[in-house]
């Protein structure tokens, strides 16, 4: 996967965050460090097969997932259940993946997407998991969001 693909993934994610979850995200300003991830954080992944096989994923703080769920359900983040937050980030990644594949491959190839999977892990474990993968970090409403491409 090239740098172009991670840049495409970043741009698609920013658009989907805004249009789907009403969240504003950007890459960190040049020279700035993104906010630290809380521990535990969530790893969410989705795989695809077809014209090309691979997977993408994100590491997301549970509080950001709750914010996404709250925006989607029209409630306060403190009212969002963990089930709603997990479902929100899974659906978010599902939409990101579909739009990402469309951007890099066009609309002719056929892809099958897996059901998104989510795990709660210590931040150190998440950092270990994404080590060596093509990755980029966004700052979304003051929270970090790490995107990665499996292959």
């Amino acid at each position: 996967m090239s740098a172009d693909n991670i840049n495409t993934l970043v741009q698609v994610t920013i658009q989907v965050l805004e249009r789907f979850a009403f969240l504003l995200g950007d890459p960190p300003e040049s020279g700035d460090h993104p906010p630290a991830f809380p521990s535990p954080s969530w790893i969410v992944t989705i795989a695809f097969t077809g014209a090309r096989a691979g997977a993408i994923g994100m590491v997301v703080p549970p509080s950001l997932a709750a914010q996404a769920a709250a925006n989607l359900h029209g409630m306060e983040p403190s009212q969002a259940s963990e089930e709603q937050a997990v479902d929100a980030v899974k659906e978010l990644l599902n939409i990101v993946c579909g739009n990402y594949l469309h951007e890099i491959e066009g609309n002719k190839p056929l892809f099958d997407l897996s059901s998104p999977a989510q795990q709660t892990v210590a931040w150190e474990r998440a950092a270990q998991y994404v080590q060596g993968k093509t990755q980029a970090t966004l700052v979304v409403e003051g929270s970090p969001l790490l995107l990665f491409i499996e292959k």
Binding site: R19, L72, A88, H102, P109, F111, L113
Partner: protein, 126 residues
């Protein structure tokens, strides 16, 4: 006239997003029914009057394609407009779904404008 709408998607978030988008778009809705898969949708369609169905493709138990194929063989259900709302925007998938009998295909994330346009197009004479 207010419509009865069925949303079939295995994600609660996706169902909620479509329901809220209908509201934001100002579509007159009497009742929004929700189903987590095609089988639940089919069961509900045999109990309740529904004017339009929004359906995802990838769902457990019975997927969107199977649901549409079942609906098109049933007298009471075969003329209900079905709109696919999916992340999959390949031309081949769209062609397959249209051949199965769906009226239109929207790519997630949908906008209120797209939704309103679709409802007006297929329900204006309902």
């Amino acid at each position: 006239m207010a419509y009865n709408i069925l949303i079939a998607d295995d994600s609660l978030t996706a169902r909620t997003f479509i329901a809220r988008t209908l509201e934001i778009a100002g579509v007159p809705v009497n009742q929004v029914y929700q189903a987590r898969n095609g089988q639940e949708a089919l069961d509900l369609l045999q109990r309740e009057w529904v004017d339009m169905v929004f359906v995802d493709i990838n769902m457990p138990v019975m997927n969107g394609m199977e649901l549409v194929r079942h609906m098109r063989t049933m007298d009471l259900l075969k003329s209900i407009p079905v709109i696919v709302v999916s992340t999959d925007c390949s031309t081949r998938r769209m062609a397959d779904m249209k051949e199965a009998g769906v009226q239109a295909y929207l790519t997630k994330p949908i906008t209120p404008e797209e939704l309103k346009s679709i409802v007006e197009q297929f329900l204006k004479n309902a």
